[in-house]
Amino acid sequence: MTSALKTEYLTINMGPQHPSTHGVIRFILKTDGEIIHECDPDVGYLHRGIEKLAESITWQGFVPYTDRVDYVCAMNSNLAYCMAVEKLMGMDSEIPKRAEYIRVIVSEMNRISSHAVAIGAADMDMGAFTPFIHFLREREHINDLFEMICGARLTYNYICIGGVNADVSPTFLSKTAEFLDHFEPIVEQINRLISYNQIFIKRFADVAIVPPKMAIDYNLVGPNLRGSGVKFDIRKDKPYSIYPEVDFNVPIGTGRAGTLGDCYDRYMVRVEEINESIKIIRQCLKQIPDGETKAIVKSSIKPPKGHIYFRTETPRGDTGYFIVSDGKTSPARLKIRTGSFTGMSIIPEIARGVFIADLVAIIGSLDVVAPELDR
């Protein structure tokens, strides 16, 4: 006898205004009660056409726009674009050593603040509000330090083509060292507060498992890829700037609390990357030489005809800038490849058959940031 009851899936609209979609992202969910049957991410709510804008402004004029590509880690975006243009112009060997060191220091600092926000937001999605606030307090300190060097707290426009916009003071360097000493125990403190909490581990372990092959197939990058156990970090494997001169490890997922590639692995990779960044900055502070901080660059540059694809490791993974130049004062075509987009594209696959509460965990653990997703 077949059941006479007709059942249908409940269609729920999660977003664009929803507390845990981290910005304006929308998911169309088909659920059976609380269990997700189908999840359809709908992107584009924060699309600002930054790539098209690049075609009508000067090469240097585009640097502030890269701040807005991913405002959680603006320094890293600055760095990726500026290094791509320098490479296109063939002047990447002219950048003063001190500038390179400052660039690495500020971008690693920004990686710390970005990961702090990512971890804190994941905690908050799990219902633990306190770690998020504590991480934001620490992020304020990084913002204070950045304010010292460039006057801005969120969108810095500090790294420029040819170096950095202004030299840093000795106070900045000593204060940075002081901050690292202050921050390192706090990471462990917050770990004890939340990361090792049994309820939290139960919520994150064995949820949304991404095996290594699947991670590569879906082109996951950065911490999400490493969380699946694939040891690939552009800073190590295709080194740029002064990364070959510093010593650091690449943390990968090992199935700490459950299966390799679950949400908890991705989360803990970020926590451990904070410690690695602290290590990198400490070495840079020791090794930083004196000297110029900016190579001589004309006010209106015209890179030679050609194209370039340059990748850097930002907190959200492999950010690549593909730039075509036709020898004029602005790029002929500019394409930004970001980590959030691939992170988003894997969600329909791993969010099948999980609870709505797990979808929140997935978004938190993949660290999807809306502005970077849509550009």
């Binding site: 409940l10 729920i12 929803h18 507390p19 845990s20 009660g33 609380e34 905690d123 908050m124 999605d125 799990m126 219902g127 633990a128 509000f129 306190t130 606030i133 504590h134 307090r137 304020e140 300190h141 204070d144 330090l145 304010e147 010292m148 006057g151 003071s169 106070t171 900045f172 204060k175 002081e178 901050f179 202050h182 125990p185 706090i186 403190q189 507060l193 939340i194 909490n197 309820i199 939290f200 139960k202 919520r203 609870f355 709505i356 509460a357 797990d358 929140v360």
Partner: protein
Amino acid sequence: MDATLISLGLNPMPAKIISMVIICLIVLIAFVTIGGVLTVVERRISGFMQARLGPNRVGPQGSLQWLADGIKLILKEDLIPDGADRTLFKIAPYFCLIGVFGTMVVFPWGSGVMVADLNVGLFYFISITALVVFGVLMAGWSSNNKWSLLGGMRAAAQIVSYEIPVGMGLLVPILFSGTLSMGGIMAVQGWAPWEWIVFQSPFTVMSFCIFFIGSLAEANRTPFDLPEAESELVSGYCTEYTGFRYAVFFLSEWANLFVLGGLTTAVFLGGGNLPDFLADYTFLSVLVYMAKVSVIIFVVIWLRWTLPRFRIDQLMNLSWKYLLPGAFVAFLGQAIYMLITQHIPAVQTTVAVLMFLVFVFILIRFFIRVRVNMREQQIPVNSPASDVPLT
């Protein structure tokens, strides 16, 4: 009080009614005030735990913030969403309110200070608080919003599941005291901690833990705040509520926190009992009672701002696989324990004192560990950069 009114020349019947109305009004106002003040207390404590201030502008230390919030909420437009079931939507908050405020009939404020000491007081307590689930379910259903519906469903499943372990957990004190009246249960306990029901045997400790965890879930507190999980279900069952009705939901939630603390104190922690030579001072009894309730409330708030929340399947597992069998074991164990030791009170006293000493030991260990942790990590909260002029 009715004696006073009769002496003023009133007939006995109207005097009784008037005195009842006055007592009810006093208790009602006390409940509303406590519910309101608790919102401020919770926000201040959460601020303290999160290295921020919390509300501190209205009144001394922000203590009147709840009045300002209440006035603001009352002045707001009372929106009813399109397609909502208007009747259910309108009455839903009052079910929650009645469910919580109904307990004030038997709510003890100290030893012998209560509106009515019903002989089925505890039973009445459990029954009337079950009304809250109707309000939540109605709100979720009538809002014509899928998030609200999910929240309402979660709440219904959760509260119904956890009512069983809570009820089973309360059976142990009932077994111990042999009465359902709140006054009676308090009367069998003494002032000293080893005379409280919680420390009577390992089984009473067990039932206390089960009862406390279950009541957290019934009061929708973290780690069981799934019905209004703000990061998952927007705001759960009260997503569509605004203005006064929203305030009513809020008030009943925080009053529920107080009820939770009060019930725990009365049933397990000796209520407002005082040593014999102080027994005449009712005021002191109320004070002792309130102090115990405050400690319980602080622990509940502390848990809320520390722990993440469960997932719905983990929540159900906890209730049906662990708490409920545990409650059965505690009940049976206590019955057998009492059967064996009923003629040897010395054993009972020794076990009780022993349980209390174990608790004190754990407490001391906890505080030592906190002190060590704090000494190891002397972390200044001030920014390393804030004292530097901008260059």
